[in-house]
């Protein structure tokens, strides 16, 4: 028998022994060689031991809890697939929201995975290193469970058959791609403010609520279950984001202006990225959860603002861009959907004109703007379509050098005027959708001149299918670019009405619900 009476260790003490007690100060190698990334961004950390663990999870419990969640999730995905669950969604238009999700989001999660691995190696203390490592492994979970939840849709519907290839090439997907590659190419402190704080903490609800609640509202049990299963991971990620920002601000007053600049930048970058989510909520879910404007008001104007109130004691101010976002909330989704509708031949999902019911819903949710500015556009589109002259924008749009979104946003105070900003740098002209994107560029022009802008690349001839000859008399540049994107013309793109998706869904649902 062990006769010693041992001092009972507290949870916090025990966790410290399981984590930070494992590290040591190197003496055979220089600390700055072991941790070479800590100084160059100008952030000053004096005492890594002051780090407060945002959660305490040892590996054995991590494996146990996560495996339980995985077991449940995959059981439900399997059942959903086996039972042709895709035929139980509200209406096949819904599946287009999942096409956007798969095209854009797993790649974001993947980059977060690699980015947090970098921090897991390079942060200056075991506490934050372990927290970042757990996020790194969680993020690959999210990437993979998303692919696995949605892959069955690919077997039955068009548009996502080459999602990863398209993610590196297709025009609108450069928006999410450039966002995360921007963050991953930053130093460790900016990365964690960008992703851990601005994205995970301030904006995550605005991604999760639309997609996951959207799935729940529209009968998509697979995606819904993925979302619920990721929720407890997300809660951990949010507490990490908050802890990091407090830690940086408490360590040295000189960190404040740097952190503030990053918050300003990444709040704006994040909100611009959410444009497509706004559109998805208001236009693509047959059964709506709430309007984008309502989501924005709850999750940003109420919850987000109370967070900024908490941070005010450190001197953090609400980012300036919030004023503009407030003005845009009445316009954003409508401007985005009309842009995608007009670009329908070049997207890997289908678009449509909202039904009368849906137009009325939009009018009621956006009483100040919809009837005045946007309903007439949809009525015009509909008239054109009925005449057999479906409206298509024949031009390649100009893209913003920073957010890479086509110039579709209007002036904050004039919804009839498209906003353009222009800056000259090293003899070249650069264009922006807004003051905020312009300021981001002006602060780091050497970074943003490197942007891979799809439209520029197309115009420079870098996006034609292999073997196509641009000098041939019958060369069709658009067809060649679509081929290079691996976009199947007539199947992946264009109107939902008359699409193979529409036809197949109706036929299969018939087979599953009747005897004819």
């Amino acid at each position: 028998m062990d006769m010693q009476v041992k001092k009972k260790l507290g949870l916090k003490e025990k966790y410290a022994l399981m984590t930070r007690n494992l590290g040591w100060e190197p003496s055979y190698e220089k600390r700055e060689d072991v941790y070479p990334l800590l100084d160059y961004e100008g952030i000053k950390i004096h005492d890594w031991d002051k780090w407060e663990d945002p959660f305490r999870l040892t590996m054995d419990s991590y494996w146990k809890y996560q495996a339980e969640k995985e077991r449940k999730l995959y059981a439900i995905i399997d059942a959903f697939n086996q039972n042709n669950g895709h035929l139980n969604v509200t209406d096949a238009r819904y599946i287009n929201a999942m096409k956007i999700f798969l095209s854009a989001v797993p790649s974001l999660e993947y980059n977060a995975h690699r980015g947090f691995a970098r921090l897991g190696r390079h942060m200056g203390g075991v506490g934050p290193q372990v927290a970042c490592q757990m996020q790194a492994i969680d993020e690959i979970r999210h990437c993979q469970t998303q692919i696995h939840s949605i892959s069955n849709y690919n077997r039955f519907y068009n548009g996502i058959h080459d999602w990863k290839y398209m993610n590196d090439r297709l025009w609108y997907l450069s928006v999410p791609k450039s966002f995360f590659e921007d963050a991953c190419s930053c130093g460790p402190f900016e990365f964690i403010i960008a992703i851990g704080f601005s994205f995970e903490y301030v904006l995550t609800n605005l991604v999760f609520v639309p997609f996951v609640s959207g799935a729940a509202y529209n009968g998509d049990m697979g995606t819904m279950t993925f979302g619920f299963s990721a929720q407890s991971d997300e809660a951990r990620h949010m507490t990490l984001g908050l802890e990091v920002i407090k830690f940086m601000l408490e360590q040295d007053p000189a960190n404040l202006p740097i952190v503030q600049k990053w918050i300003d930048k990444w709040t704006w970058r994040g909100v611009r990225l959410l444009t497509i989510v706004a559109m998805m909520m208001d236009y693509m879910l047959p059964k709506r959860v709430m309007s984008w404007k309502e989501a924005w008001e709850i999750y940003f104007e109420q919850n987000g603002m109370s967070l900024f109130k908490d941070l005010a004691r450190y001197g953090i101010k609400v980012p300036d861009c919030v004023e503009q976002i407030k003005k845009e909330k009445d316009h954003l989704s409508h401007q985005a959907w009309t842009t995608f509708y007009a670009a329908a031949p070049m997207t890997n999902f289908h678009t449509w004109i909202p039904s009368d019911d849906e137009l009325d819903w939009l009018s009621s949710k956006y009483p100040d703007t919809f009837d005045k500015y946007y309903r007439p556009r949809f009525e015009f589109f509909r008239e054109q379509a009925e005449k057999g002259e479906r409206f298509v924008n024949p031009n390649l749009p100009q893209l913003c050098q920073v957010c890479q979104i086509p110039m579709l946003f209007t002036e904050p105070d004039d919804p009839t005027q498209i906003a353009y900003r222009q800056v000259e740098h090293a003899g070249e002209k650069y264009h922006f959708c807004s003051d905020h994107c312009q300021h981001i560029f002006e602060h780091e022009p050497e970074k943003y001149v490197e942007a891979w802008l799809p439209v520029h690349q197309i115009l420079q001839g870098n996006c034609f299918a292999k073997g196509d000859d641009p000098t041939a008399p019958d060369f069709n540049p658009i067809a060649s670019v679509m081929k290079w994107w691996h976009l199947e013309n007539g199947k992946d793109n264009g109107d939902f009405a008359g699409s193979e998706d529409e036809k197949n869904f109706a036929q299969w649902r018939g087979m599953a619900t009747s005897n004819t």
Partner: protein, 330 residues
């Protein structure tokens, strides 16, 4: 007898994603394939990383190893996150019952004081070595190229942390906080541990991530785990009433056996790719093996006394045999 249950059967338009069809042909893909192949961005990367402007964000040029296809490194365990956590959850369950069993039967009391002290003296400093391995594998995940090899590095890193935490629990069970402190003190200052710490710190500043893979996973742990967990714990301590310790470190032995299959496959595939790769791997293995054997020898001495030199020679020899089987000529 089979019961013929029916579901409405609809013929799908396609079996799987195009990038998998291009690799494996037009057939249904496994979850490992869907979740791993080609999912790292590999075209039109947007900005040069500020932390390494010489390279792109994901860049095969961060190692001297050259591969025509970085997705050649199929993990023989086919671990994606779900398969990985399920495997580890089963192992932690059996580790948990070992801890319970050892505690409830008072198995540790069978050891005499000298054996107990020796077990702790050898095992406690290794918490820190495992942390070094964790940092290195996390770094390989960050710097590596292609999900097929970066993904298992992340799992391996978390396993290294798990090992450090099982050792911590063992220390607290067999001793108390001062036991951990003593191990730490030895890691930092005891002359017998300094060669190993020096070596681990050298891995922490090694830039080429594939060389680091060779140094940490293939060579150092390829020698350390057999020496410590097979030879010292399972044989030596067992023979001196230390079966309890052997039960508490069962995870490490089992884990080393499992992960070895993956590590061997990585070395084998990279070596088979080209003579240049093979020469590099041979050179790295030779250098790091020499340093590792030297660093482990005072620890072997402390652990095994008179038999240390023979045992270490045996471990070294079986490592060389292993390397030879993978195509390296040391």
């Amino acid at each position: 007898m089979q019961i013929d249950l029916r579901t409405v059967s609809i013929k799908p338009l396609r079996n799987t994603f195009d990038h998998l069809v291009r690799r494996f042909g037009d057939k249904p893909a496994s979850r490992y394939q869907e979740g791993s192949y080609d999912i790292q961005a590999d075209a039109n990367l947007q900005y040069r990383p500020t932390w390494d402007p010489e390279h792109e964000l994901h860049d095969p040029g961060r190692t001297a190893i050259v591969m025509a296809d970085w997705y050649a490194f199929k993990d023989p365990r086919q671990y994606y996150y779900g398969a990985y956590t399920l495997a580890r959850a089963r192992q932690q369950e059996s580790a948990e019952s070992s801890f319970e069993f050892v505690e409830s039967r008072g198995l540790l009391a069978q050891m005499d004081e000298a054996t107990r002290a020796l077990a702790l003296a050898v095992l406690m400093p290794l918490r820190h070595a495992a942390w070094g391995a964790n940092m290195n594998n996390t770094g390989m995940c960050a710097d590596g190229y292609g999900t097929l090899i970066t993904q298992p590095c992340m799992y391996h890193a978390m396993d290294n942390l798990g090992v450090a935490q099982y050792l911590t629990r063992l220390g607290l069970l067999l001793g108390d906080v001062t036991t951990l402190d003593a191990g730490r003190e030895a890691w930092l200052n005891d002359v017998r541990w300094q060669p190993l710490r020096r070596l681990v710190e050298k891995t922490l500043v090694t830039q080429d991530w594939f060389e680091l893979f060779v140094a940490q996973n293939f060579v150092l742990d390829g020698l350390l785990y057999p020496l410590i967990y097979e030879q010292f714990v399972d044989k030596h301590l067992n023979a001196h009433g230390g079966a309890g310790v052997s039960m508490l470190t069962a995870f490490m032995g089992e884990w080393h056996g499992e992960t070895r299959r993956w590590i061997d496959s990585v070395i084998k595939i990279a070596a088979a790719e080209s003579d240049a790769n093979k020469a590099l791997l041979t050179e790295w293995t030779r250098q790091w093996r020499g340093a590792a054997v030297e660093a482990l020898s005072p620890i072997a001495q402390q652990a095994l006394g008179d038999t240390a030199a023979d045992v270490l020679a045996t471990v070294d020899q079986s490592f060389n045999d292993r390397a030879a089987k993978l195509g390296l000529t040391l």
